[in-house]
């Protein structure tokens, strides 16, 4: 199946009788139907068990659960990163059967470990250039890191990730943790997509390796951008307070299945969320 560009997807969405108007300018609709996953064909252990889920365009969903509950597997299933997956994953009506970036443009992913997102021994500018080219965010046939490109990116970084022009030449391995994560988020949301911000953002514990102050700063920035561009977002987190504060839906994952679907997080206390995660009935 050929790779779909954003414009093509919009055309499909426009002509599709099932697509709602909220598909335009907000975010992608995500639909999982009977998704199950075992690490190998011969394994009895199921990491995901028959999950069916629909995420509306523009919805900000937080996924919580204890370790090894299947949260990351759920995100990887949506991102098309799992082999041996049964069931169907659709993003904006496109079936995702390969890494999502190879199927559709406009999806930003921030992984838990940044070796999948940034190349340590290259500079910030080089990393952004590479992601723009690989993410379909750079349309020209010939690309070179010119001064005008640098100015444009520096401006974007300054306004969106609180980084200066001087950071462009820094090697990623020399960046502080907070800056690095901010860069990952900024690339995933804005910089790797051609002028349009992303339409679906997948975040896998993107603040987990940061100290409290930096985690809060990165989370605030992420939430603000999600709200501003009204993208669909799915965020895995162990910080229940973030899930309650920023998300408009919380999924509690337990043993590879959705244990609780909380549609009104603001009305639920942290204690209650804790109970769900620990499956306590008292």
């Amino acid at each position: 199946m050929g790779r779909r560009r954003l414009e093509d997807v919009y055309m499909i969405a426009k002509s599709s009788p099932t697509a709602s108007n909220s598909d335009f300018g907000s975010g992608f609709r995500v639909k999982l139907t009977n998704v199950s996953f075992s690490p190998s064909r011969y394994s009895y252990k199921q990491v995901l068990k028959n999950i069916s889920l629909e995420i509306e365009p523009g919805e900000f969903v937080a996924v919580i659960g204890s370790n090894a509950a299947g949260k990351s597997a759920l995100l990887k299933a949506i991102a098309g990163e799992l082999r041996n997956l049964s069931g169907e994953v659709r993003i904006a009506e496109q079936i995702i059967d390969r890494p999502v970036n190879q199927v559709i443009d406009g999806v930003g992913i921030v992984h838990q470990f940044d070796d999948s997102d940034l190349i340590e021994h290259l500079s910030v500018a080089q990393n952004i250039a590479i992601r723009q080219i690989l993410g379909g965010g750079h349309k020209s046939k010939i690309f070179s890191i010119t001064q005008s490109w640098r100015r444009e990116v520096a401006q974007d970084l300054g306004s969106k990730a609180e980084m200066g022009a001087e950071d462009l030449d820094a090697l990623v391995r020399n960046l502080a943790g907070g800056k690095r994560q901010m860069l990952s988020v900024a690339i995933a949301i804005h910089l790797e997509h051609h002028r349009n911000p992303c339409r679906l953002l997948l975040l896998d514990e993107h603040t987990s390796r940061l100290d409290h102050r930096n985690a809060e700063k990165v989370m605030e920035y992420t939430a603000e951008e999600i709200r501003r561009i009204q993208t669909t977002a799915l965020m895995i987190t162990h910080r229940y307070i973030d899930a309650k504060k920023y998300a408009n839906r919380i999924l509690v994952i337990l043993d590879g299945a959705i244990y609780k679907d909380i549609k009104n997080p603001k009305d639920v206390s942290i204690e209650e969320i804790n109970k769900y995660v620990e499956r306590r009935t008292d």
């Binding site: 790779r3 991102a79 990163e81 890494p99 970036n101 190879q102 992913i109 992984h111 470990f113 070796d115 999948s116 997102d117 190349i119 021994h121 290259l122 500079s123 500018a125 080089q126 250039a129 590479i130 992601r131 080219i133 690989l134 993410g135 750079h138 020209s140 046939k141 010939i142 690309f143 070179s144 890191i145 030449d169 090697l171 020399n174």
Partner: protein, 327 residues
């Protein structure tokens, strides 16, 4: 001593050009491409054959193309048939021997036409080869700054990154192997045009020499970068107190420093590889003609130990490079 050094300068620089081709695959695709042994040999044989029919210019182009073609075969084996890279290189280079014997029935083909290089030492030849090497270094330097260069740099990423994000891996693999082996084929062509002959059983020392130069070059580059960092020339200084020499050093450090982007330092790095190859070829050649005895009688190394000495030097280079990178 100097007189004995001269005949090895042009062959050393030609091997240096070949090392640039190998470095392209070794540095970015991260495997030693054994195809280069076939490319340098076949590049020579094809160039002499074509030169005999036409002229050296077409001979050099044909030599480069046959090298590039071998690279594409290796790329196909790796990417389509999923054969291990090192093994794929060995398969292609082994197969290229048959092709060599097809073109050169006796295993040797002699040049009967005019050449662009002289079989004896001429300083104009050094200039010519140096210009070719500088052109290739500049070409790679510019290439890294293009869209393809960015995709090539992305090949050095972690395997998770490659699997999830790099959807152009196959294309980049093929083009890089083509370019790398075409450069090696060019080196083979130049070598044959210098020697006025090409042999199937030749250039077995090319792979260790060029790999040694790459490892040694890396170590030297890191060492120089560290020295410059220690002397603070990379840091901004007060414009008023800045002297011309410091300004020159700062400019130099932008092309050398390991704290800079790959695209800034690649030209210098590849230039060091050429010099490394020249050094190894010189050492080997000087031992072969017992030249060190003119310096001191105690340095009388038997001629047949030339490769052992070079192997020891390469081992020292590899150890030094590992040690510098770890530090």
């Amino acid at each position: 001593m100097i007189e004995r050094m001269l005949p090895h300068i042009v062959p050393g620089l030609i091997y240096g050009i070949g090392a640039l081709g190998l470095a392209l695959t070794f540095r970015y695709l991260k495997f030693p491409d054994f195809t280069v042994l076939g490319s340098i040999m076949l590049g020579g044989i094809v160039s002499v054959t074509v030169t005999n029919q036409t002229n050296p210019f077409f001979g050099i182009i044909a030599g480069s193309l046959i090298g590039g073609l071998l690279g594409i075969v290796t790329g196909f084996l790796i990417h389509r048939l999923k054969i291990q890279p090192v093994l794929a290189g060995i398969i292609t280079f082994t197969a290229s021997y048959s092709l060599g014997y097809l073109l050169a029935k006796e295993g040797t083909v002699a040049l009967q036409n005019n050449s662009i290089l002289s079989p004896t030492f001429k300083s104009i030849d050094v200039v010519k080869i140096f210009l070719v090497a500088a052109t290739i270094c500049s070409f790679i330097h510019l290439l890294i700054r293009t869209k393809f260069g960015s995709l090539l740099l992305a090949m050095t990423a972690d395997k998770h990154f490659l699997r999830l994000r790099h959807r152009e891996q196959g294309k980049v693999f093929l083009i890089t192997l083509f370019l790398g082996n075409a450069i090696v084929g060019l080196a083979g062509a130049l070598y044959a045009l210098k020697e006025y002959a090409a042999h199937v059983q030749s250039h077995m020392d090319f792979l260790p020499f060029s790999l040694g130069a790459i490892f040694g070059g890396n170590a030297v580059a890191i060492w120089i970068s560290r020295k410059l960092n220690k002397s603070n020339v990379g840091n901004p200084v007060d414009e008023k107190t800045q002297t011309n020499s410091k300004y020159l050093l700062r400019t130099f450090s932008t092309f050398v420093s390991t704290e800079r982007d790959e695209s800034s330092r690649i030209g210098f790095l590849f230039f060091v590889y050429v010099i490394g190859c020249l050094f190894l070829k010189e050492v080997s050649g000087l031992i072969h003609c017992n030249a060190f005895t003119t310096i001191h009688p105690a340095l009388d190394v038997p001629a047949n130990l030339q490769y052992l000495v070079v192997a020891v030097i390469i081992a020292i280079f590899v150890w030094w490079a590992g040690w510098e990178e770890e530090d």
